[in-house]
Symmetry: C2
Amino acid sequence: MGRRNEHTREELREIALQAAEELVATDGLAGLSTRKVVARIGYTVGSLYMVFRNIDELIVQMNERTLDDLHERLAAAVADRPPPALAIRALAQAYIGFALTETPRWLAIYQHRLPEGETVPDSFSAKVTRMFALVQHELALLCPHRSPDDISLAARALWSGIHGVCILGFDQKLEFVGGRSIAEVTRSLLDHYLTGLMGTD
Amino acid sequence: MGRRNEHTREELREIALQAAEELVATDGLAGLSTRKVVARIGYTVGSLYMVFRNIDELIVQMNERTLDDLHERLAAAVADRPPPALAIRALAQAYIGFALTETPRWLAIYQHRLPEGETVPDSFSAKVTRMFALVQHELALLCPHRSPDDISLAARALWSGIHGVCILGFDQKLEFVGGRSIAEVTRSLLDHYLTGLMGTD
DNA sequence: ACCTGAACACCGTTCAAGT
DNA sequence: ACCTGAACACCGTTCAAGT
């Protein structure tokens, strides 16, 4: 019979997501399964489907929580409103720091792919946009007389670039010979890109 | 009894890899399985393990073939030895073009992760290095009086950046509001980064 | 209404048995 | 030596049955 009524739906959702995060933190996204999640919280497989439509929905919701944590870290990095040029570097460092300390959860955001044709919920996209807006804001302060269109393009180029450095940096498989530290490569990208951007005002 | 001795070991390896590539091309890396591969080539599961240690080895070898194809496309893009500034843009465009036309196979290179502790064979790393050397070579021509150390750092920053634009660009999940084309974002990254790099000679 | 647990259709991998 | 196919330990998902 099990633990009927011991948890509300919302509590069940919460402990399931917590269990999922623990499993991912130790064994990566590949170490996550419905059966392992329910074993951890003392339920059986069926009950997971009372709360999540399927395992993809569970993963998406877990990733949304990771995006919340990441946004908190990024926002904290610029909380004392440093000058824009420093703020952008602080954001990049905070992103790298999160990727370094929360590697499996951070990786899960990019590893997980919805089945063909399905799209992520609006709440997820909103969290991505919100994180991205932090960079865009600092770039706008740095280049006050550039068009919003220019700023959005530059922010996307810069942030994608920093993300690329992190992704390739964490993938030992792609570790180039004579590997450089992620921080060093990011600095090169950031410094030269910003110099070029400012120079072509 | 099946098709005993119809193929040599090498032929079996070849048709298995071909079947794997077809499966990935239509259904992505998630659509690949040992059982689907053998069903396509008229063998049973066991025989796959005569040729590959496990499915990870099969995927790594498939990805090496993709890296070969990618290198061919990149090398062709600079075969007529354009001036370095154009060559770098041609390499970036060729990379985007490959990602666009061979999306699932290209993605599989980055999606696949070896189990904890295992590393990719040297032949794989060599192919990554070889591709990377193309960019490094053009950057060295572009900045003749920079140290090899500077060049390698810049090449890594630039190539990681372009890769980041592609990876985020193909992940609809991360499609930012008012999405820009991958080519447009790459151009911004490339132009401003190179301007900054040249300016700080 | 909540939850179980058997059932189904899949996995990757191994290995005794057949030719 | 090559290859099969049953067996094992896993998956995700569904749903009749129990409380």
